[in-house]
Amino acid sequence: SQLALAQSQPWHEVGREATPAEIKAWDIDVRPDFKGLPKGEGSVALGEKVWEAQCASCHGSFGESNEVFTPIVGGTTKADIERGRVKNLEPGNTFPQRTTLMKVATVSTLWDYINRAMPWNAPKTLKTEEVYGVLAYILHLGDIVPADFTLSDQNIAEVQKRMPNRNGMVFHEPLWKASGKGDAKNVACMKDCPTEAQVRSSLPDFARDAHGNIQEQNRVVGPVRGADTTKPPPK
């Protein structure tokens, strides 16, 4: 009862009820099951306009730019869309980037993120139809939807079924739960432990002062000094 609560948790009444308008204003997240997705729609054509005006300067006209962030589009194929797994993520493939469309399994993620955080310098300024549209445009750049497509709350679940990497995610519980066990195994050997003799990798010469002169990143007293990395490395 309230009385019992007031005694055992006398702080129970601190704060106040949220109003429906307040919850509506802030409850913007969209989940993989599309809970939270507002009704609406937007065409690839509308999306292209939004993209060119508000996104392309950072992400490139075809979502391919590497300037401010890894490319959004690229690296996926029709076969990937069929299978729901991106071949370029598999071993042996040499596609140079891991683009957003190669990785993302859930279309909701993109809707949610564009809506909450893009454009990067003016987040939360897009209208709902603009979010639908620009997402449609991105999906179209990835050949997931056709050029005349209009994305909406009605058909988004269908689009989900064409996400190139929709089957690419594994939930590995041991790294989610504190009680889980690690997958890599070492033993606490103390004496004459098995090791390879040689150094397998060393700092490349070009990396020696790529972070500036390390001498100037260490204290002027103490048991050590920073090495003067403007000079060549020791033999």
């Binding site: 702080w11 989940r31 399994a105 995610m169 590995h172 195994k185 990143q217 050590v224 000094r225």
Partner: protein
């Protein structure tokens, strides 16, 4: 990089006296013969000007824009377990803000009996706890899954910090709101900044040791670390410690937010990604001596480093000076706390020969920090996150220490 660096080569070391003695002793310095500066000249104090070399720094080329970037903690020059707040690493996705706390709100809603709004006044009235915990970015040490890439421990490990946090337990808030303990399996935490970072927390953990914190190391959070409110998720990667926390929603499913579905996912050798891998597993690193440093001399050194585990406390740290063939157990500096950095120290006499230094931590679950090849055997080299391998530092004959991989 901002503040001017102080240049001083190791040649400046004043070890021995000449003739009568050391001029630094025989000639009285100004500060022994004069009147110093007044109290409260700095109402908020600063480090010595001689410490200017130790600062947060970016890693050139790592990111493309400085508002979606990282600055690293200079672990090579730090001591003990507490990270000075001025040197706490930064990771922003859409820049940082100095938010007016009187206008900040926290909303709790979703699968709760009563949705609630809290002002900072409200929150800071609630029963509070203070706990010392580490926070580590999931991408700490990421560039070295494959080969050695970075010169110093600031860049290899400098996305970890440890502070005392004060706030209200998340469980207290959820209970106040009448959380649905049957259906409510997850909590979404959301920030108030442009990125409005969203992360899924599982209910078990939410009820256990998460804190909705306003203070860090005795004062309010710094703006770069989420002033005025941040979620503390002990043991879990930093991205879940949502800054500028404004909303908590209780739900029955995970959210697959951008930073749970496009980043902070671990690419496995078979091309699948592990999703929701939050735990920062047991890890350690020697900070003195470490990459880019010069030993001044042969002889005795106190080898010092840090160890931590997202699954509990540090049970033991072993140190090798021969690249992992033989190990000795280091001293742990107390208090050894749950999900907190633990400072270790061990004696070493350097004979002037090349040496390879490693540390290996064991946590309270018995887990032994792996070698990089053991990690790779399971996860390959492309999984970016949760790289907790043993770090090797090579000491050359001239005393210079450099980053290597040996296993």
């Amino acid at each position: 990089m901002g503040a001017g660096a102080v240049a001083a080569g190791h040649a400046s070391r004043a070890l021995a006296s000449e003739g009568e003695g050391d001029p630094a002793i025989l000639k009285m310095p100004e500060h022994t013969r004069g009147l110093g500066r007044p109290v409260a000249e700095n109402p908020y104090g600063q480090p010595s000007k001689w410490e200017a070399n130790l600062q947060r720094r970016q890693s050139p080329g790592l990111t493309r824009v400085p508002q979606a970037s990282v600055s690293f903690t200079p672990l090579q020059g730090l001591f003990g377990m507490i990270t000075p707040s001025g040197l706490h690493f930064e990771r922003h996705h859409q820049g940082w803000w100095d938010i007016d706390p009187s206008q900040h709100r926290l909303m709790v809603h979703g699968l709760v009996k009563r949705s609630r709004v809290f002002t900072m006044d409200d929150l800071m009235r609630l029963p509070s706890v203070s706990r010392i915990h580490f926070i580590e970015c999931g991408a700490n040490s990421a560039p070295e899954w494959g080969n050695v890439a970075l010169p110093t421990v600031q860049y290899t490990h400098g996305m970890v910090s440890c502070s005392e946090f004060t706030g209200v337990r998340l469980s207290t808030l959820l209970e106040m709101c009448g959380v649905d303990k049957k259906l409510g399996k997850f909590v979404l935490a959301e920030g108030a900044d442009g990125s409005s970072m969203t992360r899924t927390i599982d209910m078990e953990r939410a009820m256990e040791d998460c804190i909705v914190a306003w203070a860090m190391n005795g004062e309010m959070l710094r703006p770069e670390n989420g002033y005025p409110l941040r979620l503390v998720v002990p043991g879990i990667q930093g991205v879940s410690w949502v800054k500028y926390l404004r909303r908590l929603e209780v739900g029955d499913q995970k959210w697959a937010s951008k930073d749970e579905a496009v980043h902070y996912i671990d690419l496995m050798p078979d091309g699948t990604h592990r999703q929701y891998t939050g735990i920062q597993e047991c890890k350690s690193v020697i900070t003195t001596p470490s990459g880019g440093q010069m030993l001044l001399d042969k002889g005795y050194y106190n080898v010092s480093g840090l160890a931590w585990s997202g699954r509990g406390s540090i049970k033991r740290v072993d140190v090798s000076v021969d690249g992992g063939r033989n190990w000795r157990t280091a001293r742990l500096e107390g208090p050894v706390l749950d999900k907190a950095l633990t400072r270790f120290n061990i004696d070493w006499v350097w004979d002037g020969q090349p040496a390879i230094l490693q540390s290996r931590a064991i946590d309270s679950t018995g887990y032994v920090q792996p070698k990089i090849n053991q990690l790779r055997a399971v996860r390959g080299t492309r999984s970016i996150y949760h790289q907790n391998a043993i770090q090797s530092w090579k000491v050359a004959e001239n005393g210079e220490v450099s980053n290597v991989q040996v296993y």
